[in-house]
Symmetry: C2
Subunit: 399 residues, 2 copies
């Protein structure tokens, strides 16, 4: 058994979200990731949420950094820079998400690193890319959601713009970086060549929203906001209220519509020529929808979910996180992995890679690193000893 990235060394100069999320995916495929943190406090993600019970290992820090090694290194000192040079010489991949130009100003731009390690894969993640006219603009996820048009797509025609409720663009940009890196490793395996990769949140969001962008580019029409309707815009593909909780239903095809009507005891709709096909049901949605809505309101949501799926009509109760995480679907799957968090004195469930495989599936149950936990080990492994080692350890002291 050999995981895809077994033996691959990743030098991780990232912080907060997109970068650590990226390199976590690489950990799960077997890579050895060395996380460089600034002495003192380390990655600000360690304190995300500022919940004292988690100290400097916030749940999100834990989930994104489990299985990595942490080295506290002051890159602004001569010896710190020398240590980084030796780490670059030993790395297959370098990932960074500083603002464009910051690492180059410190002597660790692509050209410099390539000179140290010719077949290096060097991946930068930033808000707008290394060459954009906007490259100097700072970016957070919710800013990228505004900029990219993503906020403009959520909600109904009368609603204000609405943000996705989680750091979607950070997450997807990090995932794109992981994809780019694995592609570059495959290319290196086949050609021996390194590669410089440039991931930007704004460009990544265009790919993410491609379904809407493609239509817009071809028609010049800004897509209407459709609220909770399915993308088919069918009257029977929408969110409906039941006796208890809302449910989303997707009855698009004639077959699905027939099954829905039979289950809801609305067989008379099947005789109505207005509703005989999808375009008729779309045209007469205003008369169809209230009838269906009324019938659905008589059901309990979970019972209706089961009954609809049994007759092959896509449907799901609108769950919250508590509802889905506890779902028996996950029993026996390795979607979540239980890991120990030493500083908490207990375990937690983090995300695995999200896909399965017959062999060498994504997998790592290693704990998150404490700040600087591996500084000494790693520095020794790249040849530091004696006074130099002591000086580096002093420079990299953690609070």
């Amino acid at each position: 058994m050999t995981a895809a990235l077994q033996g691959i060394k990743v030098l991780d100069l990232t912080h907060v979200m997109s970068g650590p999320f990226c390199t976590r995916q690489l950990v799960l495929l077997g890579a050895e990731v060395i996380k460089i943190e600034k002495p003192g406090d380390g990655d600000v993600m360690r304190y995300y949420g500022h919940d004292p019970q988690f100290g400097r290992n916030s749940p999100n820090f834990v989930g994104y950094n489990a299985g990595k090694r942490s080295v506290a290194l002051d890159l602004t000192t001569e010896l710190g820079a020398e240590a980084l040079r030796r780490l670059v010489a030993d790395a297959d991949v370098l990932v960074e998400n500083f603002r464009p130009g910051v690492l180059a100003a410190r002597g660790f731009g692509w050209e410099e690193c390539k000179a140290i390690r010719p077949n290096l894969i060097y991946c930068s993640i930033s808000g707008y890319g290394q060459e954009s006219i906007l490259r100097d603009n700072p970016a957070y996820d919710h800013i990228a959601q505004a900029m990219s048009g993503l906020m403009s797509l959520q909600g109904g025609p009368e609603d204000p713009p609405i943000k996705a409720g989680f750091p979607l663009i950070d997450t997807f940009s990090g995932y794109m970086a992981a994809f780019a890196i694995v592609s570059a490793l495959l290319r290196r395996e086949r050609t021996g060549e390194g590669q410089r990769l440039d991931v930007s949140m704004l460009d990544a969001s265009m790919v993410l929203m491609s379904s809407m962008i493609l239509k817009y580019n071809a028609t010049g029409v800004v897509p209407p906001r459709v609220g909770n309707k399915g993308f088919s815009l069918s009257a029977t593909a929408d969110m409906f209220q039941t006796k208890d909780r809302p449910i989303s239903i997707g009855a698009n095809t004639d077959k699905q519509f027939e099954a829905l009507c039979k289950l809801l005891k609305l067989e008379h709709l099947l005789e109505d020529p207005r509703y005989a096909n999808a375009s008729g049901r779309w045209e007469h949605a205003d008369t169809l929808r209230p009838v269906v809505r009324e019938a659905i309101a008589e059901w309990h949501a979970e019972e209706l979910e089961v009954a609809l799926n049994r007759v092959s009509v896509p449907a799901a109760v609108v769950r919250d996180l508590a509802g889905i995480v506890a779902h028996p679907h996950f029993n026996g799957r390795d979607t979540f992995q239980t890991i120990q968090v030493p500083s908490w004195g207990r375990e937690t469930k983090v995300l695995n890679g999200g896909f399965g495989a017959d062999a060498d599936a994504p997998n790592s149950d290693l704990p998150p690193p404490d700040l600087g936990e591996h500084t000494e080990d790693v520095l020794r492994s790249i040849g530091f000893e004696g006074e130099e080692l002591q000086q580096l350890l002093a420079e990299g002291q953690v609070q």
Copy 2:
């Protein structure tokens, strides 16, 4: 120059969205993708939106399938199945997004395909995975958004659940499949072994929402809905109304808050001890927010965007798709690629891979295939000729 997937042959048995989006990413990295479509109509995505001007090449079909070859093949006939067997024997990767069990019932499950091509990478994409208790449930993107808890996260505390405004889970699942496939190709390059990959929309959505799930798993507290606030929940990280359009601002740190106040001529806030640090500003958000809101309302959105970014405060006008696609950021970048669509008699802009590289960046400007356009060529290449070829062409006739 050798692109990462140059020479890699992908047999694409997918339709609609997640699968074609996945294999489009592989095209952009140099793979040869053969799309198998059902005779007659082909992929239903061809008709998405039912706009007559696009015929059977809807903008979304075009964007997801450009650069592939199309073979119309009836898998239910003896000769059609024989053709598929030969294609499998010749493939590096097979991707499919039928309901679990459908391909196996036709004799093309993982075990059967592995027997034909031992080092094959076989990737399935489905709603709930190949082994889930929910495997037989049909799934659409908006159903997965309900099921996964994703809808529950959008909007403010008083809002109903709100769907992401584009097929987010379909898109991300397809991207995850592309990541899994490239990882598997790297593993195959290093070990010689094929792999069976199992991507599910529900599990992919957990990874996508990991930021919220990690917190929930560690605390047991369902995260509050925060509307358009930044994830810092700072009073000055939110969407605000200007004289014309809304703008999102992210002033979290002391430095950003100071720059914001100076620009808005609210220097007096900097003297106020309540607002001296982030936790104070969070605690006194109710008094701080209205003052900031009033000052922002005096600006024009685009002027404020420029002014704030100039002083390193993250900010972006809340744009719609027209606003962002026309942004000069994209000038000279290859985020979009212009391709010819022969059946439209004109060109359109599709998405490229979303990231840049110094060499062998994602790239393909090939047109989308007409239904069955490459049937004869491909069948000849796998040895069909004479009567058998004619019979297959007859079976695969397109309407």
